[in-house]
Symmetry: C2
Subunit: 613 residues, 2 copies
């Protein structure tokens, strides 16, 4: 170290030390303040969280109650209507009514779930925040105690430094003064020696004697001062060593405090804070995610019911509801008059030629009519297709309304622009009604034509049988009611339903022809499964299975797989039975022909009437 | 056909016919009634659906408003606090505050989404139901018109049957009467012939003449009656044929109506009903599903923030917030006294032995102290681990509260039983606080010990240097502040942080040693990527990327993969920059050593002060 141009005075050094210590002290106070402030902020945050969740719980409860009221109101209303009671019995609801009930169920489910959410907020989440707040305060107190101890230790170290520094100053000052005294003595001795170096002859004897004793005295003094100086010098060195060692220890302690202990203190305050907060927020998340899952399940059930919105089975149910109105009447029988024993068309000689002529006329008339009517039918079908395209347009996706763009523009503007532009809707509807108008006109024309054809065809066929001719007309539009329909012709006669020959909702005969399977795999597989696991099962074919599972199995079959192939019974037996029922219900030509339906029904009615009386 | 035992009289036949027709008429009326009723039920259902969604829209709007108010209230409160303003500037939020803001954001998002839901109900779903209701009514009217025409046609056919039947009766009756008249003539003729068979001789000539003319007359009459009979017979046969043909045509027409036309009529009523209902309900489902998706996204963001609840980076931020309080103070410098030129520990002859002795004493004292303190440290660590296990217990799953059992039991009972049993919680908390108590006691003991060690170690090390010994003490707990720390030792000195030498939050030197990579792959790969795509990118390293993507990339690197290997820029550049920042931030020994942190900060402060003045 180079010599400083100017020595610092003791006072300056002490002042410097004291200012440094003062600064540290101020920092220690400041640190405590910061930690206290942090804890206060945490407590405040936790208080806010509690208030927030308390308020949110209120909102959820209110929402839940409103939803419950809504569901109850409509449930009550529905329960009182007669159609409800009518349908309730056999659980065989019309598909739109089924959707409606599921909608109400979903609202109930949402109501329950939001009530549960509120309950979890109040009894779990808020309690956790309360506890975290308590914990934070306690941790801060504990860390404050430790901080106090650390600060005291630090102050002790600093005081020690002060002490050893002062000691060093003192001994060094003493060492300097001893040195200067020694130097003074040496100077005196030198002077004496210098004086005694004067020519001797000038000096008197007593003077010489005097001088000698003085030299001795000076020498003695110098020796004394030399000893004193050495002693002080050693003390000073030791004091300086001690000062240097303490300085090193002080700096080490100060930096240990700032780099490690301070960090430990903060860790003490933090102890468990983040982890507990994590758990509290995860409880909230768990509740929200579960609410979502439940909601989603409910929506899936509705979606499934919407998928099953189906006019065909509803029509069936509708007709079954009113058998008296829709049951075909008795045939008009031939009533022979006054013992007329002939009850068939007579083709004896006098009338035969006439009948023959009439038959030929009928045949040619029918041919013309059918060609004409076929044209009308084609137009009708095409128009119907247009209408169906219109009513099945996929215009129900509202995803874009839920885009959370970063911009703060109002949602409304986007909404109105995209999914419901009123002029375009009005135009679409006008167009649709115009098409309808045309469709009904053509349908009427077609029905008129086909009614005439039916009449003439019946006469034609009877004449044909009577005249004993072998061949039959090819494209008959209807047939005598007592002849079972040929499926293909049946399909031709119902042009407005669009079935394709799929596994479900298809035509069994077509399927058998196309696939080469005598018994469709689905029937065989389901029956095998039921045979294995279902025969002892109570309520088999009565209890309905899981709609989701039924659809899964159905879809799997439709993909050409066999989901029931492995022997593990991991499918619900009721669902498997449901698939089989679904398959039979969906057949385009029912297993029990529609033409026989009313006969079968009246059979049952008759039977039960007989049984009752 | 066997001969009936008794002939039905004309009147009976007519009565039977009329009752059959009457029945059909009644059925036709009934069918119209059924269709009308069905339409009424549909209109009613659609009205209910409209009312339902109108009411639900109200509930959603109210819910949305309440949520918005809730968010606004706390946002406003938060905005006014000073910590918000403090943090807002640099967007560098403490992780719990970040969670809190995201929670408020989520409420806002939910509020917006439920408002959108309400909007879609009102402006889309309800409108659709209204239109379906209109359509159903219109379709019913059109089908009624067609039904009217079909009924008229049917009645015409039935009337025709009546006419031809009556004609048949008439002609047959005439035929019978002609036949009986013929028979009567034949009988008379026979009588005449019988009488003429009497012995001739008895008869007078004029009598004979008279008889002959009478026979002729009878013969003539018989011929006339024969002709009449043949004519009537033919007419009767033709009438019967006509009756039979018409009967066939009538039955065909009636059955065509019941089997096909009726079905067509129902189809007419149904036209578009199911499809439109499907679309309306799908709009509802789309809205609900989208709400759910949006909600889920928001929850995922919160979950991510909860994952990032992290005391270490928060501590860092906290200390950065108050640099004045946490900046280590200046070192205490050696102040030489009054020109003392020696500023190092002096180990000259007189004090050397003493220093040597002292050094040895320090060494042995330190060894003992360290062993003792190591024990205390282990206990402290174990206790801390216990506490951490307590506060990280995974007790936040509330799934079972959302089980929708089929039973109608109240949800509350299940809730209180499972997730929050108060006695067990109290016990757990008491246990935790006891452990805490012990931990703090031990921590204090440990800190006291390590403070003493620090002091003695500093002196020991200084003496060691002074005495010029080559070897260094092995397990020093602290080091002189101006010597950069050796990472391993640094790690030892901070026993309560649990870091393992992973890629992230690890020690770079250890990593380099373990992996053999001079530059970690992650650094190389990120910098290469940024070099390729990011140099022109505005806000690089400032704009934060997607937290999800950052985590993905990070996890990928941690699995040892290189997600940025392929040259396609399918990663957001900000996310890649985020990964690099995350990596450097997570290093256990920061790139800029913590010991230099305050120097660097004051450098900047100084620089900017100079620039400003």
């Amino acid at each position: 170290m180079s010599t400083p141009s100017r020595f610092k005075k003791d006072k300056e050094i002490i002042a410097e030390y004291e200012s440094q210590v003062k600064e540290i002290r101020a920092q220690l106070v400041e640190q405590q303040k910061c930690l206290e402030q942090q804890t206060e902020m945490r407590v405040q945050l936790l208080q806010d969280l509690q208030d927030f969740f308390r308020k949110k719980a209120e909102i959820e409860t209110e929402y839940s109650r409103n939803l419950e009221k809504l569901a109850e109101r409509f449930m009550a209303k529905t329960r009182s209507t007669k159609d409800h009671q009518q349908y309730k019995k056999d659980q065989n609801l019309l598909s739109p009514v089924n959707c409606w009930y599921l909608l109400l169920n979903q609202v109930r489910r949402e109501s329950k779930d939001h009530a549960t959410l509120s309950d979890i907020y109040l009894n779990n989440v808020i309690m956790r925040f309360m506890q975290i707040s308590e914990d934070s305060t306690r941790m801060f107190k504990k860390s404050k105690e430790i901080a106090f101890q650390l600060h005291e230790d630090l102050m002790k170290v600093l005081n020690e430094l002060y002490t050893v520094m002062k000691t060093y100053h003192m001994y060094h000052a003493e060492s300097i003064s001893a040195e200067s005294k020694l130097k003074e003595a040496e100077k005196q001795e030198e002077k004496q020696i210098g004086r005694s170096g004067d020519p001797v002859f000038h000096i008197r004897l007593e003077e010489r004697h005097q001088r000698r004793s003085s030299v001795k005295k000076i020498e003695k003094m110098k020796e004394k001062r030399q000893a004193k100086y050495s002693e002080n010098k050693l003390k000073s060195i030791k004091a300086r060593n001690e000062y240097l060692l303490t300085l090193e220890a002080t700096n080490a302690s100060v930096f240990k405090y700032y780099i490690h202990d301070l960090s430990d203190l903060i860790d003490c305050c933090d102890l468990g804070y983040h982890a507990s907060l994590n758990r509290a927020l995860r409880t909230y998340l768990s509740a929200e995610y579960n609410l979502e899952t439940s909601r989603h399940e409910g929506l899936d059930i509705i979606e499934n019911a919407v998928d099953n919105l189906e006019p065909r089975s509803d029509k069936q149910r509708f007709m079954e509801m009113y058998p008296a109105a829709f049951c075909p009447p008795m045939k008009f029988e031939f009533q022979s008059h006054m013992g007329d024993e002939v009850c068939q068309v007579s083709a004896q000689q006098p009338v035969q030629a006439e009948l023959m002529l009439r038959y030929q006329q009928l045949q040619s008339r029918l041919a013309t009519l059918k060609i004409e009517n076929e044209e009308v039918k084609k137009t009708t079908e095409a128009t119907l297709q247009t209408i169906q395209d219109m009513v099945t347009i996929e215009d129900y996706d509202v995803s874009e309304c839920f885009q959370h763009s970063r911009s703060t523009e109002s949602v409304k503007s986007t909404v109105s622009e995209t999914y419901l532009s009123k002029p375009s809707i009005a135009k679409r509807r006008a167009n649709q009604q115009e098409t309808e108008q045309f469709y009904f006109m053509k349908l009427r024309e077609y029905l008129e034509g086909s009614n005439l054809i039916t009449k003439l065809q019946a006469k034609h066929d009877l004449l044909q049988r009577t005249l004993g001719e072998g061949h039959r007309a090819e494209y008959m539009t209807t047939r005598p009611p007592n002849v079972p329909p040929k499926p293909q012709k049946h399909r031709k006669s119902r042009p407005r339903s669009q079935y394709n020959a799929k596994l479900f909702n298809g035509d069994l005969e077509t399927f058998v022809k196309d696939s080469g399977q005598i018994i469709p795999l689905i029937v065989e597989s389901c029956i095998r499964f039921i045979n294995l696991y279902g025969l002892q099962h109570q309520g088999i074919f009565r209890v309905s299975g899981s709609q989701v599972e039924v659809n899964d199995i159905k879809n799997s079959f439709e993909r050409g797989e066999n989901p029931l192939a492995d022997d593990q019974s991991n499918h619900d037996i009721n669902s498997v039975a449901g698939v089989l029922k679904l398959y039979f219900r969906g057949l385009e030509n029912p297993l029990f022909p529609k033409e026989r339906f009313n006969d079968l029904i009246s059979c049952i009615t008759f039977h039960s009437t007989v049984m009752r009386t």
